[in-house]
Symmetry: C2
Subunit: 315 residues, 2 copies
């Protein structure tokens, strides 16, 4: 029995052959969401068939998908950053063309699962993970179990409210952690300042370049005014959100993952400080915030090993 773990992201699709000791081989390609649902799923199918052709053993697939998913029906219900992907029966489509059983999990929860088995969550029972990418995913692990909530749609830590009168969020709410800390949130946030700071280098040399997250953080290092405003809000939102989540989960560790987690590493002491200001006396300084070492691999590993467990349960 061989296992493929897939991390379906807003920008990249990452897949790998997952074994008990880690990822054996990896394949990464652009998601190109603008090409439409069928095209994206087609490319996933082809990549699976290619990997599958390397061995005649039976294969099973674990798919980590953003947004709200239905595990039983193998569907993507809705994702803030995947417009039009409403009730997509992605598992049965992939099964049809690859003849492999496919198990779906929310991407951030798959990553939390990966961190628990292979990463910063090993040997600890209670932690939570925030994946800071196109959106902000959440994966809370309580006594070794990943929190999915009542009907499986919960555990959306990226959508707790940090600024009640804040920016609209792709999830349909406003002022969420995601609205300030994610790639899409940072871009939206910058756009709200375009009229006030039209000449800011955040908008490129002539004001017409697409906003790049990397650029925002590198401008912040040079104390550029608008980037300072945006990055300060990233730090503040994370501090407030983590503080509230510590009061709920009383975790040993908070793991930050995703592209933006690498850009904010130097701000971790500030985030810890703000988080402690929003934490009850009895839980102040009881947690540490760490950057994931596994990063993108956690999603692949988690989706794969979760699929293996699910498959064995069915046997």
């Amino acid at each position: 029995m061989k296992v493929i773990g897939i991390d379906l992201g807003g920008t990249w699709i990452k897949m790998g052959v997952v074994t008990e000791s880690g990822i054996q081989s990896k394949k990464i390609f652009k998601t190109n969401l603008q090409e439409g649902i069928n095209s994206v799923i087609n490319r996933i199918v082809y990549a699976i068939l290619e990997i599958k052709s390397s061995s005649k053993e039976d294969w099973i697939i674990g798919l980590g998908s953003p947004g709200t998913i239905n595990r039983k029906e193998g569907k993507i219900i809705f994702s803030p950053n995947f417009e039009d992907w409403i009730n997509v029966p992605i598992c049965s489509i992939i099964e049809k063309y690859t003849h492999c059983p496919v198990f779906i999990e929310n991407d951030a929860k798959a990553s939390a699962y990966g961190e628990k088995k292979f990463g910063a969550g090993r040997n600890i029972d209670t932690f939570f993970l925030l994946t800071l990418g196109t959106g902000v995913g959440g994966g809370a692990v309580i006594n070794g179990e990943v929190l999915i909530g009542g009907t499986g749609y919960g555990g959306e830590l990226g959508h707790i409210c940090v600024f009640p009168d804040g920016l609209p969020c792709g999830c349909g709410s406003k002022g969420c952690l995601e609205a300030y800390v994610s790639k899409s949130g940072i871009i939206n946030h910058a756009e709200t300042y375009r009229e006030i700071y039209p000449d800011s280098l955040v908008f490129g040399n002539n004001g017409s370049s697409p906003i790049s997250i990397k650029n925002v953080f590198s401008l912040d290092e040079k104390n550029e005014k608008l980037s300072r405003i945006i990055v300060s809000k990233v730090i503040e939102a994370l501090g407030i959100g983590i503080g509230s989540l510590v009061n709920i989960f009383n975790p040993e560790k908070v793991i930050l993952s995703g592209g933006i987690s690498l850009s904010i590493q130097k701000f971790i002491p500030s985030i810890v400080k703000i988080a402690n200001n929003h934490t009850m006396k009895s839980m102040k300084n009881t947690f540490e915030i760490v950057t994931s070492i596994l990063q993108e691999d956690a999603g692949i590993l988690g989706a794969g090993s979760k699929a293996m467990e699910q498959f064995l349960l069915l046997e």
Copy 2:
């Protein structure tokens, strides 16, 4: 084997004999915190001895206590509304004088347990309870289990941040749900307006009456300006907080309990509306908010039945 359940509140101590079918008899008396720790515990001991004298069977005691508790050591670690109660070994003191085993649980978590076994949480797996009393306690039940977090200090739903630049909270943080929605929060909130509205009837006829929660809500019904500001904030804070918590727990029900839950019953539709505005699309309108029917009895029932389970585990 007979069981006494105790709910140690900031204002009242409530205890009862708990059986499988509910509470058999009840005893309620003032906490009188100002008399000091020893006096409060003494009165609990005497009340237990009085109840105990009614039967020669063995008795066990379940104590629901506010704040952060240590279940193993039987201690109250810290409570925002019980000043000076730091590391109080309350279980061993009560055991010493009553010769009954005593099990401690956080009061709101005991209430959640009571609601699960006897109240609005019966037959549902995932819900959360907010106890709106002197403070705001939280009890989240996930797949039938009460959330206590990593080292048992978590599940403090009343201390998620709803207004990041908001009022200080007794817990050492600021802008918490408790800072706006609890009895102590409402009083503090009103005090911040004393200079602006010195003649408000919230402060009594001559500005020197103690602020009463009942009075604030009854003035609000008459559209009195300051009470309107305060009550609006109660509703808004609850809506925002519940919205965030729904994104995390994806519950079937949200149960409100405690004195203030009765004063705000007519506002539940407004709270639901605000909560839905702060909830992800996929979870909007998936939950209902109900007022506890058990009210204070939930804490007694929960503390008692939890103690019984703990005792049987030790056997």
